[in-house]
């Protein structure tokens, strides 16, 4: 009976379709804040909602609230380029993103929610002998991690992507590292699915509830102040992406993070033309096509510290130029909209899931421009850390003190572990 009354299924869709769609109910409640919870999660984005879901579903901790200053799914989880992949190179990142991809592959069953996870494959193009060698090495690292990678030559790529400009004089296509299990997912549905998963187990999702202070006594966290009143808690997790610096400052902490803006773009809806995810190896451009038909693409950061959720024109111009260089066929497509999201950039470009110097206060941040694919594992590992006070085995490399010791820094791009280089 549960199948027809509560969960989603083909039968349920049929039943509702035949009975006037009168039986659908809100996917989560809108409760009043309680005076006290065991655990508070600051930030109702993808990572925060996933954390709450796994606290409840894996660890049985349901006296939990998620505090969101706006509405859930209104931040970076609602505006990103939706790419899911596990093609990292360095130990620390490699096992973490591998763990995340495995969670993605079971996510719709776990959540009973269609997140439209589509393993359509990712092609990272290379354009020189040196880049081929680097990608072969990365592919071997991915295979050693247990994930999939196939090195394709030019003809191999052409079978999949006939529309590229293969003979571009400056940046000829030499081949691609193909990651078949990579792909995309419906970003909003990920937030909604996790929210529903957490809420159905008793987690309170408190929207329009901005944290304005963190109460700490004798080095122990006691709760938070919010725009909806004070809330006491035994444990508090901060998972607020681009606003990590501000929230950490409420606890007297500084972070190895500078916030930057990343822009992305979407065109009008077109008939299916780009079946996979494609990245250009010689300019900042990557693209996929959404199920609605829009070409979704992006490039690099604007590369200065900012909280303005909008970018500037030099980056727009670069992204368009790179796109036209790689696939001139998209030149007639009209851009429907663009946006800028605030990225919590770490010096080495890799994330942090760790305790803080304050008892009961935990932080999950530094996702840079790659947070979407990490949502399941970030939530899973952050929940594990909060519940057990020990890092999850897939997240042992994501420690804050790597910056103090210099040991275990994960500069995936090899550009140097300093701010503004990623």
């Amino acid at each position: 009976m549960g199948l027809l009354s509560k969960g989603f299924s083909g039968l349920r869709v049929l039943k509702e379709g035949l009975t006037g769609n009168t039986g659908w109910t809100p996917h989560w409640r809108d409760p009043e804040p309680k005076a006290e919870y065991d655990i508070l999660i600051i930030g109702g984005g993808g990572h925060g909602l996933a954390t709450a879901h796994y606290l409840a579903s894996v660890h049985g901790l349901t006296n939990v609230a998620v505090l969101e200053k706006g509405y859930i799914g209104g931040g970076n989880i609602g505006r990103n380029t939706t790419i899911v992949r596990a093609n990292y190179f360095l130990p620390g990142n490699s096992e973490f993103y591998s763990h995340s991809l495995k969670l993605w592959e079971g996510l719709e069953q776990d959540l009973n929610y269609n997140v439209m996870h589509s393993q359509r494959g990712i092609f990272n193009l290379f354009h020189s002998d040196g880049q081929r060698d680097a990608f072969a090495r990365r592919g071997n690292a991915m295979i050693n991690q247990g994930d999939d990678a196939i090195l394709l030559d030019r003809d191999g790529v052409r079978k999949h992507l006939p529309y590229l400009d293969y003979d571009n004089v400056r940046f000829p296509v030499y081949g691609a590292l193909y990651h078949p299990r990579g792909g995309t997912a419906r970003h909003d549905a990920v937030a909604w699915g996790y929210a529903r998963g957490a809420d159905s187990r008793g987690v309170d999702i408190l929207q329009n509830c901005e944290v304005t202070g963190i109460d700490i006594e004798g080095g122990v966290v006691k709760g938070v102040q919010t725009t909806r009143g004070a809330i006491r808690a035994k444990k508090v997790g901060i998972v607020v992406a681009g606003r990590s610096g501000q929230v950490a400052a409420m606890a007297g902490m500084r972070l190895p993070i500078e916030s930057h803006v990343l822009q992305a773009f979407v065109t009008e809806g077109l008939k299916p033309v780009i079946d996979n995810v494609v990245t250009f190896g010689m300019g900042h451009f990557y693209i996929s096509q959404s199920d609605k038909g829009g070409l979704v693409f992006g490039g690099d950061l604007d590369s200065y510290a900012t909280y303005a959720a909008r970018g500037n024109l030099p980056t727009v111009e670069h992204v368009m130029e790179a796109g036209m260089t790689l696939m001139p066929m998209i030149g007639k497509a009209k851009i429907l909209r663009s946006w800028g999201g605030i990225m919590d950039m770490t010096p080495d470009g890799s994330p942090i899931i760790d305790k803080t110097g304050i008892d009961g206060l935990y932080i999950d941040c530094g996702w840079c421009y790659g947070g979407f694919k990490a949502v399941p594992a970030s939530g899973h590992c952050f929940a594990h850390l909060i519940a057990t006070d020990r890092p999850h085995e897939a997240a042992t490399g994501l420690r804050m003190d790597r910056f103090r010791t210099g040991y275990g820094i994960m500069d995936e791009e090899g550009t140097g572990s300093q701010h503004n280089l990623h």
Binding site: A305, H419, N420
Partner: protein, 87 residues
């Protein structure tokens, strides 16, 4: 487009410049042996949402390092001076 008022070249577009990061951090003495001050200098940042004192390099212009005030929320630019006088 951010326009930066270079004291040498005048008001120029942002794409002539490279952002050089937070200008409030101070390099420890070279014989500093503790990791803490180096951690603060190299990695830790206030990351403010509002006025920010920062370095820019006019790499496609006079090649001078500049120090300027910029609001990270509005991108409004305040005073801009040569960094060599202060850093």
């Amino acid at each position: 487009m951010i326009r930066i008022n270079c004291p040498v070249c005048g008001s120029r577009d942002e794409n002539e410049f490279t952002y050089g990061g937070d200008a409030n951090v101070v390099r420890p003495a070279m014989d500093e042996a503790e990791t803490g001050p180096w951690l603060d200098y190299v990695f830790m940042r206030d990351n403010p949402r509002g006025p920010h004192r920062e370095y820019w390099h006019h790499v496609m212009g006079c090649r001078q390092w500049l120090m300027l005030e910029r609001d990270t929320l509005t991108h409004e630019i305040g005073d801009c001076i040569l960094a060599r006088g202060v850093a």
